[in-house]
């Protein structure tokens, strides 16, 4: 985030009173929303890293009676075959975060690379736009399900699939930014002094798209976490590992679970965990995205750093 802010200050100085040229690069002030988001993500990350240390048992070990309700020995009870729910929850954080980060990295790399390429020439631009259009015209969720159903949803397969299908809209946005950046006078100046197109892209255009890329990266993490959980929920998860989506699937596959009270420890914890993690990424993603929006739409964003001129 600091990176994003600094890049903006260096390459696109804000010409407001007192901010430039006198001021140092300003660090962005964090609103309550993104701060909560970062805290939650940090907490989930800590749980994921420390899972073997703090979990009461392995996620697949049979340590309790089947469907045991929460007790001092098993804080969140046990599932239908006697596996500790708390342990599964902690280990599940690993899967969600790993898939989310890895898939988003792949997707960002593709989208960013293709978006920058579009600035190289009109031919590349046409190719990139066409590819992005094709990605947008594909029914994505059925595609993911198809691949998962065929290949089995082992983690590498899920990561690669999600990374390969989620770059379409993102590449379009980066492409738009690259195109508008390429039309600016300083690019013309750079070209006039004989800078090569590739150097222009890497030194001038690429840094200008960093804020957007960072924002979109976080949004893609959120997308990948949801998609992975949805695959698990559909029963297409990898049976050898435990993810939050799998836990919900296992419990909610029969609607009867809701007739007793066992859903309170079988369905609620993993569903809540998914919801909270996704919301955390959304909070951070929006506040990053807000910084990349131009003037007026910025005022419409709920997470603002400065009072809006629309406020009565």
């Amino acid at each position: 985030m600091n990176l994003a802010a600094e890049t903006r200050t260096i390459h696109r100085p804000r010409l407001g009173p007192g901010s430039w040229p006198a001021g140092r690069p300003r660090l962005p002030r964090l609103g309550a929303g993104p701060l909560i988001g970062i805290l939650i993500i940090a907490l989930a990350g800590a749980a994921a890293l420390a899972a073997p240390l703090i979990a009461p048992s392995g996620p697949l070990a049979y340590t309790a009676l089947p469907l045991a309700p929460p007790s001092p020995a098993h804080w969140l009870g046990a599932n239908d075959v006697g596996q500790d729910v708390l342990a599964q929850l902690l280990y599940g954080a690993r899967v969600s975060l790993l898939v989310g980060l890895a898939a988003a990295t792949l997707s960002t790399a593709i989208a960013w690379g293709l978006g920058l390429l579009s600035g190289l020439s009109r031919v590349f631009d046409g190719l990139v736009s066409g590819l992005a259009d094709l990605m947008l015209a594909m029914p994505l969720l059925p595609l993911i399900i198809l691949v998962a159903a065929y290949l089995g949803a082992s983690l590498p397969v899920v990561v690669i699939t999600l990374g390969l299908v989620s770059w379409g809209p993102f590449a379009r946005i980066i492409r738009g930014e690259v195109q508008s950046e390429m039309r600016k006078p300083y690019i013309e100046a750079a070209r006039a002094v004989g800078t090569t197109p590739i150097r222009i892209l890497m030194r001038h255009v690429a840094p200008a798209t960093v804020p957007t890329a960072v924002a979109k990266f976080v949004m893609t993490v959120q997308y990948a976490v949801v998609a992975q959980a949805s695959l698990g929920f559909l029963g297409l998860g990898d049976p050898s590992i435990v993810s939050w989506g799998d836990m919900v699937h296992r419990a909610a596959v029969s609607p009867l679970v809701f007739l007793g009270d066992s859903w309170t420890w079988l369905v609620a914890p993993p569903a809540l965990a998914i919801a909270i993690l996704v919301v955390a990424f959304a909070l951070v993603g929006w506040s990053l995205e807000e910084r990349t929006l131009p003037g007026v739409r910025r005022a419409a964003y709920p997470f603002r750093n400065q009072p809006s001129r629309f406020r009565d």
Binding site: G33, G130, D133, L134, L136, A137, M138, P139, L140, L141, P142, L143, I145, L146, V147, A149, Y150, L151, Q222, V226, A229, S230, F233, L234, V248, A252, P255, F258, L259, W263, V267, A271, I274, A275, V278, V279, F281, A282, W286, V296, R297, A299, A300, Y301, P302, F303, S308, F310, R311, D312
Partner: protein
Amino acid sequence: MGFLYSKTSWRLSVDSVRGLARYPLLLLALFSISFALPRMLPGDPLQNMAAGGGQDALIALTPEARAQLMAYYGLDQPLPVQAGRFLSQTLHGDLGFSISFTRPVAALILDRLPWTLLLIGVGLLVAGVLGCVAGLWAGYQRGRHQRLSVALLLAGSLPDFVVGIVLILLLGVMLPVLPTSGAATPFNACGGGALFGCAADVLRHAALPGLALTVVQLPAFFLLMRAAALGELGQGYIVAARARGLRERSVAVRHVGRNAVLPVITLLGLRLGTLLGGVVVIETLFAYPGLGQLTYQAALARDFPVLQALFLLGGIAILLINALADLLRRGIDPRLRLEPAR
């Protein structure tokens, strides 16, 4: 079709022809992917059949029987021949014959399509209309109702199955007013004269999955409309309209609303296309017999004809709906007609 022409001269402009030329290319690519993707992945329909097809006992396929079946379904032909047959069949309006369902693919899809359409109709249209109205209202409130926006943003980022589970708990279990699964009560006398009761039953079954879809989709429309309305409200022509003495309602609907709804229509088109491909998760949670469930079952059964038809039709639907949304935007905003057709 006037939208396709340039405003100044009534000739089909070069740009719009170039824009339209993208469609055959996209269709060709879509066709290739629909054909290749199911076949690229491991497994084939006969393996699934040999494994019992998920229903019957194991069938032991002798090599001869297997070869016979492969020939029967045309799966022993070289891939280019299969692709050519798929293309010519499709162009003749024949989508082929499902291997795992042993029915024509077209009939299979037509069976499921109404349910998905009903679900999308209930869910997405309510979300779109409600989102537009509420977004316009919230835009008029300027900076107030920040909490509402934040709450909606949070709700809109939740996975659909989490929303669905919460709804099942609230309206199906704690306050059991709505059915939580299926599309109609089995063995309900839907055939006789009880048309009204039948429709009520179907709507009751669609209510909960439709509501889940609405909750998931509404925030995006609301927020986009609100942002667009805020942007329009800052424009000079609004002041001019008020100065002319127009009623505020007319300003809100004809000026602010008409301009602000344009990006919302684009979003509606995108979402509609995506959802037509199948509301897989919600359909699975509520055991709703729509296209999403069909995709899921066909993928598990490696049913090539069904899969390629679903992909092709899904892609065409997305293209068609986006083109329609584009035309609609041109109808609403005359300025857009000056730009080349996309």
